[in-house]
Symmetry: C2
Subunit: 534 residues, 2 copies
């Protein structure tokens, strides 16, 4: 009771329209209403209970997850939920499960990389979940460096088959969600070899388990890779390991939308521009940034409510103690995270626009903005996920001892969130990709090629390298253009300095390796500017 | 095999005597030999296996923990292990358990705060574990502010008893390890009330559960507070909740070593100086700093070995890829943590000397160094535990996706370590205590009272406020005195600036609250100087 009053009192102090803000946050009134309705639906359904999740053994957690996935599927059909509503439902069920990969990776990959016949053959079975698929790219030895994958798919012209094989321990597929226990099929990436020649990494559909008794097929060794960070969290997912011992598949199980192998074993590439994949990439990264703002806002919400209710020290004459939120040490740690949650939300909304823009350009074969878009989305993925992971842990600390209890929600939120720093591109590797783009931009500054979009400020680098900050009093920082120019000047100066230092190296690659730390910092400065400017 | 070769190759490059370094790390050859022998003992005993720990349900984990605790006790007796060896054995068993609190808090508190008769009555039973005790101080509503505890112990002169009661929800005891399931007795802290007068917080021994059937006694409500961060980790401990409904205990169950209540209900305090408790505090904090260096070194060791074995990108002409440890981005994150592990180790060794020094002074009733020692140990506890918690997570990230697997050891190490930032003094609260000492030191600078020990540099503050760094080339930073003076100048300047800003406030407490963030930063600068100088 007492605690509720503290919250009401704080809420009364709000100087903005809270109802309006809910809608701004959701993106639209309709989005808000769907979200609100589906949240209540999930919260009131006992099958979706979350309170016991962290204390289940791995096996019981996995069973609980299967039960929830089946129930969600049932409710979606019963209530005839729209795609948007169904997606919200899965969001609020909030438990990683094999269907995430089946719907989110296996099916889209067949759509994107399969040819017409392949789509007609595989998609109907996948849509009805008569087969369950996972996406097996990463291996024990190779994650970031996809070109280094070792699994082989060797064409045998005598039988018109590919022989899929794991030649080394490090070539074992490692991590794919849904692989460990559930999937009947996998979309695997392997080195295509025809007539002794290596054509690089391509996608193949391989059946893993019998559709009769679910046992692994001959030549397939498959299993779960064990516990991951935290209790509950990602342990609901059967991330798996997979090895092939000369497994034969039909030739038409290679995804042939982009490249083909003919009956004679001839390798051919279609003239579809490879850049088309970037549309999907922008879409996925926009989703990751939106997820970051969601995870961060949950953590900040918990820490803020706790800071309002918790009182410690500072009682005068037997009165109540000071609310923890009134301590400057608490405010200086919490409030920037609150601001970041909104900033990530708004930059996520802007990325939706960017996705539309890129899609339209790609359809018109305009690839001009791709390098800038790639750098921008790679950087935003890296910076927002790293910041969110750190912020969740900071929010946990801001709840003192209570943040250590699973019942605070924060330990599991942290454990389930941190993989976002690794999947879809390791955050450090991505920053270095951004840095390469920055260095290229700087090197072309005098060439008449004008930087556009998020890198346009570099066109004013001469001014930014010399300008002095006009701030004289603290209040001057309230002017948005002052902040913006400060961020621009910082980003430009860091990039230009790196470019100068890079020129001291005879070998550019060697220079890039030696200056990697500075380059990564310059990339962060560039990305933070993007966030501030949106 | 391959991996082992990579390690051997790196080890061959060592430019120091590895055997010698092992002994330096352990503290002495004897300490090294004990540690090595006991480590092998634990590793070779199947009862102490750790590999399945993170996948057990809470209940099975708890049973596993009881089994290990009993087996450890058995082995210690069978092998007639010395106290040092027994302590090492518990360290390597590496699973929080109720006995930590029985031996580490319950028994020492009776020794320290009980009178002669009380020690004779309770300690023999405790030593034989005929009773099992926990230490119940923290409540749901009060952790840092011990003076705000709400549990009451009201003396009833008619029956010569205390009535122990939990008057509010927030007065529930919350967190004590060993309380939830195991303890038969608790040392509880409650407000002593005699004749309507509140004498503040004192310690009482209360029996919680029957020695016959282990059921809670009348008036006692007790239970486990549920899952904590991570799988495995601290979930092996039965941290508990405890409420009293007018529970009556004999008068002589109040610990009377320092304060007494007479048969007539008169409250009396003995003239034992309160400062004597500081000896114990220095001991406990020295232990925490030593633990920080252990936890950090484990994490750094895992991340370093991984970085040697892992290769990614950079293959030339089909040769092996680049070892991750050769990337500057990896080095710039990993190597400072490696250096910190050694720094914390050495400052921990210095704290052992400090403990001896303080003990000798206290015995001679010399309390002069206590404020400086208190600030120094509080600060070191705060800075080393915060840095270690962050560093373990950084090491986990440095292992890429593999760091997310429980089998890397890092998720559980993080989850079991982070409470160190909260227990024995919240790290932010401690920094503000350090800051108070710094402000007092600055204010007394002109008074002729010379700062001593770790704060002696403040006596040269006039020089430190004006001196300029002599560094001209990067190599100049290799001179220890240059680094030391830089740290001194930074710490002195931050403290003096805070003190000046504090003077702008009419109300010093208001100023302290407003400037808390700067003050905490000044405290960190002071503590980092201590670490650098030892």
């Amino acid at each position: 009771m007492e605690a509720l009053d503290y919250h009401a009192e704080e809420r009364r102090k709000a100087e903005f329209d809270v109802e309006e803000m809910k809608i701004v946050w959701a993106g639209s009134r309709q989005a808000y209403e769907i979200s609100d309705r589906v949240a209540r639906l999930v919260a009131s359904d006992p099958v979706f209970r979350k309170d016991n999740r962290t204390m289940l053994s791995r096996k019981d957690l996995f069973k609980d997850t299967l039960r929830k996935a089946a129930h969600a599927w049932k409710r979606i059909i019963e209530l005839r939920l729209s795609e948007e509503e169904a997606s919200k439902l899965r969001f609020f069920v909030d438990q990683p499960v094999f269907t995430d990969l089946h719907w989110g990776m296996f099916i889209p990959a067949i759509k994107g990389q399969g040819n017409e016949e392949q789509q007609q053959k595989w998609l109907p079975m996948a849509y009805k979940m008569q087969i369950i698929g996972c996406y097996a790219q990463t291996e024990l030895g190779h994650g970031s460096n996809v070109q280094g994958l070792e699994t082989t798919a060797t064409f045998d012209p005598e039988t018109d088959e590919f022989v899929i094989h794991s030649p080394t321990l490090t070539s074992s597929k490692w991590w794919p969600g849904g692989l460990g226990k559930v999937s009947t099929h996998a979309l695997i990436y392997a080195r295509l070899i025809t007539d002794g020649q290596d054509h690089g990494v391509h996608g193949f559909i391989v059946q893993l388990r019998s559709l009769d008794d679910h046992l692994p097929l001959p030549g397939i060794t498959v299993g779960d890779i064990g516990m991951k960070f935290g209790s509950g969290a990602y342990n609901s997912m059967d991330n798996g390991v997979l090895r092939f011992d000369h497994v034969r598949i039909l030739r038409d199980q290679m995804l042939m939308g982009v490249s083909q192998v003919t009956r004679e074993g001839k390798f051919m590439q279609s003239d579809v521009p490879r850049q088309l994949v970037y549309g999907t990439m922008v879409y996925v990264r926009q989703k990751i940034v939106a997820d970051a703002s969601c995870a961060l806002s949950r953590a900040v919400c918990i820490a803020t409510r706790y800071s309002v209710v918790r009182r410690q020290f500072g009682s005068h004459n037997g009165g109540p103690e000071t609310q923890v939120i009134d301590y400057k040490t608490q405010q200086s740690r919490l409030f920037p995270l609150l601001a970041s949650a909104y900033a990530f939300r708004f930059v996520g909304e802007w990325l939706k626009w960017l996705y539309t823009d890129v899609t339209q350009r790609l359809q018109a074969s305009d690839f001009s903005t791709l390098p800038e878009v790639h750098a921008c989305t790679a950087g935003l993925k890296s910076v927002t996920t790293s910041a969110t992971a750190d912020a969740i842990e900071e929010c946990r600390k801001l709840c003192g001892g209570h943040g250590y209890l699973s019942s605070s929600g924060l330990p599991e939120l942290f454990a389930v969130y941190v993989p976002a720093c690794t999947y879809e591109g390791d955050n450090v590797v991505l920053l270095l990709q951004v840095a390469r783009f920055l260095m290229k931009t700087v090197s072309q500054l005098g060439s008449g090629k004008k930087p556009v979009g998020t890198i346009a400020y570099m066109g004013r680098s001469e001014h930014l390298l010399q300008c002095r900050c006009e701030v004289e009093r603290a209040e001057d920082w309230l002017k948005p253009n002052v902040i913006l120019e400060a961020f621009e000047a910082r980003a430009a100066r860091m990039s230009v300095t790196c470019a100068k230092n890079l020129n001291n190296f005879a070998n550019q690659e060697e220079g890039f390796a030696q200056l990697a730390t500075d380059l990564a910092e310059a990339a962060v400065a560039h990305v933070q500017l993007i966030i501030v400017s949106k």
